[in-house]
Amino acid sequence: MRIHRVLAGVLTAMLPCFAPAQQDTLKEIERYRQLLQDGNPAELYEARGEELWKRGRGPKNASLERCDLGLGPGVVKGAYVRLPRYFADTDRVQDLESRLVTCMVTLQGFTTEEAKRNPFSGTGVPMLTTDPFSGVGQRSVMTDLVAWIASESRGMKIAPSMSHPKERLAYQAGENLFYYRAGPYDFGCVTCHGEEGKRIRLQNLPKMTNAKDAQRAFGTWPAYRVSEGELRSMQWRMWECVRQMRFPELEFASDASIALITYLAKKAEGGALDAPAIKR
């Protein structure tokens, strides 16, 4: 099959010369990850996020303390693991970040454009010159809020709602997107995340259609990513994967992004949230 040949070619070209000591290499990488756990800079984002939730901001100078993340106005504990879900007031399925946009608009008086601005913090060189999410020394209110809100669900079971017809529709749309192949490499999410034992260089690729892989993968976002020097969320992860596939840009908090996250959250159902994590 053409896709497999292309993929095999791409992967072989990237294989390091570690083949004989494969198992030792993986063990050492695991040890690196263990040693990294002590002292997670995500805590710095969480502290800012908690303050931003409570601080009056925007034209209405209001806090987000009346924001309904699905468990009622102001209830943050346990909210993250029950997202994405359908919200009656907006009549759509929303994930955390799109819900925060809603609250920033309705409670604080921001425009949608303002609320969606600078969703990803960046303090380094942008990966693309068109990258709207990066900038030297830039903080992101959205990123800080996500860090804190996720931390308030730490250890809880991932349980996205699937009772409303629109939720099931979002799941289906997400599944279609997962299998959809396009772009110059004819990649789809499934290309890298649909088979056992795949990896790129030393990075093991979780098979997202496998419950245990999905639980571990989904359950460790948001995460402080040391390679970025920033805290990254699921919205960012989707945006970045889509970029890696050489697709057109995935719009922040778009229906497509929410659909993908809904599909993956459902695949990760039952896993415990181990976030904000720290990873490569």
Binding site: P16, T25, E28, I29, R31, Y32, R33, L35, L36, D38, M127, R199, I200, R201, L202, Q203, L205, V226, S227, G229, E240, C241, Q244, R280
Partner: protein, 156 residues
């Protein structure tokens, strides 16, 4: 008692790398006290140069210095390194990264009562030897460990 002498005695009593550097004549006592940050040491480009800038003329390999760090770092931006010295009268611990643009990464002064142990995270530009340099009782010792730095999967 001459004022410079008195100050010098005080500096030597509290110990520390700068005091030793002053004592060895590389940095004058006045400079040592004024110097908060050893600029020269942070501009060296080799292990030998760094040891000199820190007041030593060489260093002895010692098995009493333990480096705890992974053999492979998944990303060079954050490499966890811990150093523990079992050498009596440990005064300072420094972390040197041989292949980095500047060799000296960090230097810690250990007063009496503080464990000769530090754990932190450093940046490595590429696979390199890490040297843990320990100044104990005015003498210089080191341990070495190679850490491989890999490039990650999806675009680093």
């Amino acid at each position: 008692m001459d004022l410079v002498d008195a100050k010098r005695r005080e500096v030597l009593k509290t110990g520390g790398v700068l005091a030793l550097a002053a004592a060895s004549g590389i940095i004058k006592p006045g400079d040592a006290l004024a110097q908060e940050w050893n600029k020269a040491a942070f501009e060296t480009k080799s292990v030998a140069e760094t040891i000199k800038a820190l007041g030593g003329s060489g260093s002895t390999l010692s098995s009493a210095i333990e480096i705890t760090a992974p053999d492979i770092a998944e990303n060079g931006a954050v490499v966890p390194i811990a150093v523990e010295s079992k050498l009596p009268k440990t005064q300072a611990i420094a972390i040197l990264i041989e292949k980095n643009p500047s060799t000296l990464s960090a230097e810690f002064e250990i007063p009496a009562g503080t464990d000769p142990f530090v754990s932190t995270r450093v940046k490595m530009g590429e696979t390199s030897n890490i040297y843990a340099l320990v100044i104990a009782d005015g003498k210089y010792f080191h341990a070495v460990k190679e850490i491989k730095v890999t490039i990650g999967g999806c675009g680093g």
